[in-house]
Symmetry: D2
Subunit: 385 residues, 4 copies
């Protein structure tokens, strides 16, 4: 079987996350970018595509055109799946269009602009039977996966306490609000009901659930808008209850000056605890009460869970980074697509890919964390959708 | 003027914190232990005192005896102040007895068993006009003081967000509940209404207020008891509002396995942020949005605020620890006592010593954080007492 | 202009570094693998190539065949350059064959098995006028480049002292000597006159010269073989003199148990110093005598030298790793190839790519550090070749 | 038995290390400062002593007077031992005078100005049969002792490689050469044949031998003087051979800008390795080839060797610092003095106190490292004296 063929929507000149998706999908040499609708400007889309070495005929003026024209190509020529890297408000219409045209979807997060859209999108995924992946990047780090595997085999006992945080500082000044990356995030029309929680808080919530294998059931939310002139949150703290009785704290902030992308999780069970943080992602610290802490390090040739092993590319001490984590999501998604094409089971290690279920949960978290923040009662139940 | 003369109540054989107070008061050679009622057992008190090189006649059978007999000694022989290092429930009666007998008091924290006692104690302090110091140890670290000084001169701008935490793991197992240190902390009769918040949460609250120069006005509290068979909290998370509009999160835990005494504070203003943690107390990290983070390091000969400078003893790279921080509280308290004896003003650098005001605030925090945890409404106002 | 076309020699099934070169050359989507001679076994080469989605006709049985057949293809079809990822002893013959067939060469390090070969290779490069790149990986890290740029603009003053080290532990046991990666490294026929210095010590020497912009002139060498049964060094320490009067220490070790790939450099000038280490490559620590240390962090949107800026792909806090560093070498090499094809100047930021000059210097270092170790005199001059 | 009585020579107003000795001897409340000759100026000595609460009659005008007058006091009044905290050139005459007057000696390091003096001092110690302790401070850290204990019970196997370093930056500028602390260190008349090696290099050598239980037999030395106008070394690197076949590197520097007191040791045996550094002294990292690194942390109630246990004062997470390490040397020395007075064996845990043997070895190291640096031959044997 040849390389998988990817089409991209969004990610033209000046965009940030599109380039990340392309680099991530490139690393393993399993996926080939064959077409794209890189911008809502036809000219810009054309120019962007050619700079990516695409055939001019497959640089489309709109995502609708891309779906139509690609669907009309012979099966062995047309794209296998669509990668969606637009601002948030376009995720839903593009995903629906792709699914309706018969293409699998790999989407940047959050899945949609609203919870309602997410529920509709799930229906569409179920109706078409096509594949849907959501790039909750941090789940791609090898040691995040190792932590998940160790929780699953009860190394830490029953999880009692989870502290997950995602501090950033880059939106601490109103001055930066007109830069391209900031502008859409603070605009409700493009970002939805939340800035901070929608952009990064939801990553933290997802990471906690992914690793610990438990689900948030209730939240006590306190969102803040520190910078004048904004309508959405730029900071927030949330107390958590989980379905196994664990408690937790989730903090996300975009006004924590000097912080970069400090997503970090600490969790404690009744046997032990662990800590992982993205800024030094190749160390997983295991914590014990009556013996020394241990430093588990990323290492392609070490003794790890199969889940983690499948996500490593370099020997110990040769650090793996954000792009490799992102690449693992594309690797998993590719495995799903290939297994589908080959009519076989998906490899076990690819099964933790975040998908439509997490998409709906994420949107539910975002909408309810905003609602809960406005309430006077302490605890707000997160409904199941 | 000779060394100051200290009497001690509590801290006999097998005790932990009494030895800490003695070492801390020893370091600078300004204070001499002259007497003590080290145990409620007369024999044990005697034996403890003699092991500390005390004259047998000044190893008392009870704190009442100590107050009486010392008060009867000539002024230049009797103790200058009492150091109280008993379990929590004895702090109040001993402090009152000492004040009534005319002695200044340096007390281990928390000041009393209940808020009510703290208010009464404050009245007694005011009535007698004597000195009262409370050992909120972490305020003695040089770089905690440097952080306080830098906040005060507006280096970080208006503080918006404070995250303060104190994770421990040592009470994660019921197994340890019969060791001496654990037993009284989990016993309401000896510890008061709270274990975790009373023992360590209050340190975190105090540290945040001390450094940032702002006061907690409202709390949203979620306390937990994870270990079966306990009646008091062994973990808790609290959302905070401060009187300058800042928000915060306070986490304290005694079931966070593998954590030691991880008290740590991060705060962010509208100009910059900082981080300090006790486990590596000689580094204060300054965080900025558009320039590199800076590592300020303890160094007796560096350029620091007078407040921090007065708290340092060694050159950069020669780490100062917990005992030196504790010693700084005794150093400050000694300065207050000496200034009083000499009829002069207290040195500016000694004025941040935590005292009866913080004692009352601390007890108010403890009682209200417990009350608030039981309520369904989100925010609970912390009254001024 | 289309993607550049790469042919690969070596890197078939079971190999390690070939996959690294492929991932690194993939990331930016500027290079396409079009052919290869992946193994000395024709069958294995074929199987490896097909797993990489190559056309069967371009999976060659030998590198000689690859050179012949590719050279015979039309110019717009044949490969643009050859990537050499074989064990050390094959680097030279393959590079010569490629150059003679008219192809540019990107070679894994060390360039050749012997200094003599390196000198011959240089002659061949000069004779053909073709491009030659050598993958001294660590020079690809953004903050290594930032350090180089800061030294160049005199931020640290005249460099006086350089400490560079590369500790590993993986060859500490004879037990591992029959694994594929170990076996050739300890075999003089495949690795040359040195194991530890040839494999990793030369990286350390190169890194010091690359960043500091000075050259080693004299060495005092002490190589060791700690594991019985080996003939080559598995550890060594070398004192250094540089051409600007600086002194240094170079340590490399493969028997330092528990160490991973801890290449690290510290250098001190008469104005300040810096430290960088690969295991946390996204922090460059600046050290000053009378102000706090500063932490410079990788960040695609920060204020950096153009050299470093060109080497960054992600925002602050999203760690870049080993593959991205490696990718920067391919990015630089691509720029050289494209500039040559387009008849234009090479971009300034690509000019620090390590090439044939460093190849010869590296081999000279390896041979002389072995010679010097056997001598009784302290200092051994490193000749200019 | 009462507190031990200490007399001090040196350490008057403006001195640094005298205050450190006093604080260190104070901490445990076992030692009382009873007299001193704090300065060569009688008036300054008097003033210094009174500030330390001494009886005016025991503030002596000279060390000779102190020896005479104290020796004439009744046995239960006179000092038990002399603490010597003068600049280096006075260590020898004061120590000899004390021993001849019948007093035990606790001396700051280095023991003497020259090797010859050290040998004579050893003879005097042996002749008098009195106790002699040398404050190699770093041997007092709990985790240094734990490392020693673990090496001794073969946790790491046979030590093969030792890397010990002591970088400082404070003498990088000639500007500081007239400050009091710098001035005597760079003056051969007061510091002896070496500045950097005598002041800090010898600490590094001692630390390596103390922990690893092996002795340096040969050195290859390269000392430097980077700052113009100095006659002594301000930097140096030394290759080492040990009596068990291990190799090593010792680096000491006073011109490494931005470095504080970064003494650090890494050692590797054929089973595992470890690392300890003073700037974060409460962590000992254990390194293994096939399992995670472990972080052993200072903790008064943990499972440690008796040697380390005896050196700890606080629970895990409450950092112990430089003064506590220093206090452990006084604690050990006190135990020797008390055991002598009580006619009993010294406690096992006090037996690693560095004494006259290490004093001679240290001076031999200093003199030979200077000699060796001037030689053209690579290896220089360190004679046994």
């Amino acid at each position: 079987m040849p390389k998988l063929k990817m089409g991209m929507v969004g990610g033209g000149e000046g965009a940030f996350i599109g380039a990340v998706h392309r680099m991530a999908s490139n690393i393993d040499g399993q996926i080939e970018l064959v077409c794209g609708a890189f911008s809502s400007s036809a000219e810009k889309s054309q120019r962007s595509g050619e700079a990516l070495f695409l055939d001019a005929s497959r640089c489309y003026a709109s995502y609708q055109e891309m779906m139509d024209k690609e669907a009309a190509l012979p099966e062995d020529e047309r794209m296998d799946f669509v990668s969606i890297v637009t601002p948030n408000h376009m995720h839903f219409p593009v995903a629906v269009a792709a699914l309706e045209a018969g293409f699998h979807v790999m989407s940047d997060k959050p899945a949609t602009l609203t919870l309602d859209e997410a529920i509709k999108l799930r229906a569409k995924v179920e109706e078409t039977g096509l594949l849907y992946g959501l790039t909750h990047t941090y789940t791609g780090y090898p040691l995040v996966r190792e932590a998940k595997a160790r929780v699953a085999k009860d190394d830490f006992g029953t999880i009692r306490k989870v502290v997950v945080e995602y501090p950033q500082g880059w939106l601490a000044d109103a001055d930066g609000d007109d830069n391209k990356q900031a502008a859409w995030r603070i605009d409700p029309a493009k970002a939805g009901v939340s800035c901070c929680m929608g952009d990064i808080g939801v990553h933290a919530a997802n990471l906690a659930e992914y690793i610990c294998g438990i689900e948030i059931t209730d939240i006590c939310s306190d969102l803040n808008t520190f910078v004048d002139g904004r309508t959405l949150d730029d900071d927030g703290s949330v107390l958590l209850r989980f379905n196994n009785g664990a408690k937790g704290v989730l903090m996300a902030s975009q006004i924590s000056m000097g912080e970069e992308n400090g997503i970090r999780i600490r969790a404690y069970g009744d046997k032990g605890g662990f800590e992982w943080r993205q800024e030094e992602p190749n160390t997983l610290t295991l914590k014990w009460n009556h013996k020394p802490a241990e430093l588990v390090r990323t290492a392609a040739y070490g003794e790890f869970s199969a889940l983690a092993q499948a996500a490593m590319r370099t020997p110990a001490g040769h650090p793996e980074g954000y792009l490799e984590a992102f690449a693992n999501l594309y690797k998993d998604f590719s495995e799903h697509v290939r297994a589908r094409k080959e009519g076989r089971d998906v490899a076990e290690t690819a099964k933790t890919l975040t998908g439509i279920k997490e998409a709906v949960r994420g949107m539910a978290f975002i909408e309810h964390v905003v609602k809960a923040s406005e309430e006077d009662t302490k605890w707000h139940t997160l409904p199941q959708y």
